[in-house]
Amino acid sequence: MNDALPPSNQTQHSSDQDKPNTPITPNTRRILLVCRTAPYGNALARESLETALAAGAIGAKVAMLFLDEGVWQLAQHQKPQGIGRKNHSAMLGALPLYDIDTVLVDRDSLSKRCIDLAELGDFTQLIDSLQVKEVIADHDVILSF
């Protein structure tokens, strides 16, 4: 059911500067996953990652944007053994292995929650509130969790 994707370097979102001028054909639609839920309290955070990994597995390019409560997913030193859940950070760490290389994190959401920027993994990219709006505007289709 899923067509193989053509190489899509030109459609990959890297920053806010250049919108593509090429007309959008169905399978080059750029997909943004907006992750706004904390891990553990609800399965949505996990399911957003499963969606990203599924996209990676079939070679579809998606970008992820961590916003609001979603930034708790990025906290280090998660030890969920005591609550009977799988480690969410371990799953997050698999993103680069699935070729998901656009992982954007809203700086404001982090600072509101006193999350240390030094805690973030290498595969993430901090953006400011203006860039958040641009990322939303730049994508063709959005799934939010």
Binding site: N2, A43, L44, E47, A54, I58, V141, I142, L143, S144
Partner: protein, 132 residues
């Protein structure tokens, strides 16, 4: 236009599935097309054949089924979400050695690839998140 509608809320408990159903009806009344209904997260309970509501109330899974049949819609239930929440077809019931199955006819279990495919191939995709 081709729409994909993503339903994340269970019937009865939550309003999201009801809103999604009304939206689907309005899309079809306006002569648009539905590329796919995708039931994910707790939305998979919409596909349960065991929902047993009083006769004077809306029967969620039967109503979806009628819409699916009438317009020949593709209604995909995320298989990973469904298994974890106890919504099984015959094949999965056998695989997990469960005595019964409860996937309403008209719905099919499939993977998250179908959600990505829908995002790529629909003109519009709308998600109805849990209302509570």
């Amino acid at each position: 236009m081709k729409f994909t509608i993503v339903i994340l809320g269970p019937p009865y408990t939550d309003q999201a599935a009801e809103t999604a159903f009304r939206f689907a009806q309005a899309v079809l009344e306006k002569k648009h097309h539905i590329y796919r209904l995708f039931f994910y997260h707790d939305g998979v309970h919409n596909a349960s054949s065991l929902l047993s509501l009083p006769q004077d109330e809306i029967q969620p899974s039967q109503r979806w089924r009628q819409l699916i049949d009438q317009y020949q819609l593709e209604a995909v239930v995320c298989i990973a979400s469904a298994l974890r929440r106890g919504v099984l077809n015959e094949t999965e019931a056998k695989r997990f050695a469960k005595p019964g199955n409860n996937l309403m006819p008209g719905f099919e279990l499939s993977g998250l690839g179908d959600l990505i495919d829908a995002a790529q191939h629909s003109d519009r995709l709308i998600t109805f998140g849990p209302s509570s």
